[in-house]
């Protein structure tokens, strides 16, 4: 495939894309390390190998657009501009976290940057995204869309199908993005469905559906950019399937018994960050520049981790938590 001319020219964008993908990878490396040190409790769902889907997609949106993420959403929300410091503090359950330690890894949200939450119930974000998009329509906001991520595992949830129908029937400015990593936890797609072509899921609802190589950041970026323009121009939702693979386990307790070492190694060789680095080298960047980007990302995560570890835990009493259940 030829390198995209438009993208090749925008060196600043390429640099930011790479920096953010590295930030996601290093954030998750740090999370894993904190787990191993016993500093992080609960669970977390890493997106190692899927960085191009979250970062490439979200970079193609505008700041005013809203996203609703999957439980494997670290990459999606970091791309949206959620601060790594706030997020790491949330991972550690600190008051300074994005959700003040009330949500954790599965619920990162920052309404200031239009990141409307990472969902713990798969597929459930799709109907909510319909309402977000509906609010834009009702208020006449013409240059604003909602984008909702879901996985191949959630593609069989009724909520996803109901939302697709509603979005199409109401012509909502909503982009459905299926991050197809081939597995719903340990269940391979081929065993969960009769037809593995998930693109077809949009057809019966009259939603324009396309697919892209989810390990190619530039392809993802361009597909989403084009879909956003289509949604605003045609006043209809759109659907993109981004094919990728998670080389990390489903969650921190994954023993990887459901797939082979060879399969994982094969996909590691298709690592989206290394692939994007080659793209950048072909298009005017030097090794030294890439190393500098890597160092910046590493420094940001080191700073975020140190900051988060130093932050205090929440001090809310059970009575205060009871009051917090309601908006006053």
């Amino acid at each position: 495939m030829e390198d995209s001319a438009q993208l090749c020219e925008d060196k600043a964008l390429l640099e930011r894309l790479m920096e953010r993908m590295l930030l996601v990878r290093k954030f998750e490396d740090a999370v894993l390390s904190l787990f191993k040190q016993g500093k992080l409790h609960g669970t977390t769902h890493l997106c190692v190998g899927e960085e191009a889907t979250g970062v490439g997609s979200v970079f193609a949106l505008e700041p005013q657009d809203c996203i609703l993420s999957t439980h494997r959403g670290h990459g999606q929300v970091l791309a949206k501009g959620v601060s790594a410091k706030d997020m790491m503090a949330e991972m550690l359950g600190k008051e300074a976290g994005t959700n003040r330690g009330r949500g954790g890894s599965m619920h990162i949200a920052d309404v200031r940057v239009n990141a409307l939450g990472v969902g713990g119930v798969i597929g459930a974000g799709c109907p909510i995204a319909c309402g977000v998009a509906l609010s834009f329509k009702l208020r006449g906001e013409k240059d604003r869309i909602a984008a909702v991520f879901f996985g191949d595992g959630s593609a069989n949830e009724g909520a996803v199908h109901e939302a697709m129908n509603l979005a199409a029937a109401w012509r909502l400015p909503l982009l459905f993005i299926c991050t197809n990593n081939g597995y719903g936890m340990s269940t391979p797609l081929r065993r969960a469905v009769n037809d593995t072509d998930l693109t077809k899921r949009g057809y019966p609802y009259g939603i324009r559906s396309t697919e892209t190589d989810g390990n190619d950041a530039t392809a993802v970026y361009e597909a989403v950019r084009e879909a956003r323009a289509y949604i605003l121009r045609e006043e209809r939702p759109a659907f993109i399937v981004e094919h990728t693979y998670r080389t990390s386990g489903h969650s921190k307790s994954d023993g990887n018994k459901y797939r082979t070492e060879e399969e994982i190694a094969h996909w590691q060789s298709k690592n989206p960050i290394a692939r994007f680095a080659k793209f950048m080298l072909r298009n005017g960047f030097s090794e030294a520049e890439l190393e500098a980007i890597d160092r910046r990302a590493a420094a940001e995560i080191a700073e975020a981790t140190a900051y988060a570890e130093a932050c205090p835990y929440p001090a809310a009493s059970p009575q205060e938590l009871e009051a917090e259940a309601y908006s006053i």
Binding site: R100, A109, V111, P127, I128, S135, A146, A163, A169, S327
Partner: protein, 324 residues
Amino acid sequence: MRELTYAEALREAMCEEMRRDENVFFMGEDIGVYGGSFGVSKDMLQEFGAERIRETPISETAFVGAGVGAALMGMRPIIELMFSDFISVCIDQIINQAAKLHFLFGGADSVPLVLRAAAGGGTGAAAQHSQSLESLYTNIPGLKVAVPATPRDAKGLLKAAIRDDNPVIFLEQKKLYRVKGAVPEGEYIVPIGLANVKRAGEDVSVISYGRMVQSCLDAADKLAAEGISAEVLDLRSLSPLDADAILKSVRKTRRAVIVHEAVAFSGFGAEIAARIAADETLFRLKAPIKRVGAYHCPIPFSPVLEESVFPTPERIEAAIRESL
């Protein structure tokens, strides 16, 4: 004072709030030309148009979820669930989403939506269209639950619910839609979380809500002829619960009979009884706390059978007599 039906009072509340606040809109099945399954939104389409009187596909997860999303963005959706029994097909959006997001976001956003749902039986609608499922909601922190018993409260509580910044489950009593009652002209609000003494009395506190309030009043009237003075308390809201009003009444009468249309077993009455039992007043009660609710079976269809499972004024009267 003028009289309106319960349905008309609800409609008036929605219309007034939609005129007052452009962020308020209304979603549900067949709410436009048809006017809603129970005629609550009759003619609203003409005034507000199809954008704000938004008819939905039969797709509860989609439109309840859309309500959550719109509410997150500062809209104030009113959503009609044709029968409250249909919570079964959209319960994730209510329990895991609407109720949780304000808390989960660390207070950074809120979900101001009203889920209006036709609840209760007495209409021959059988087991999947006649339940009173309020306990499913009251056990979920983050939700408010209101159950109006009169046209006046239906209007005032609905206006309060629409202005509330939290998800409010608004359980309308389908048997009451056509019942008329006094409704004041002009602006008023019935706050959520405030019970109402419907009838003052000295001998026994009859604590109820929803459709059963009238049955309790009927029983109290009958007993009054024999010199038995029953106080009837209409809770109006179940979450938050006006526990002070319950305890104030029971401390006075020293007897409590709890009445609801929902199944008695594990029903909301258990919470009321527990509140009384946890208070010092327990030691001064003159009789065990009585509960009257539906029997522990699905609501049967045949009118004779249906009538037999719900509390009747006779069963309420018998429970009061047992406590005396």
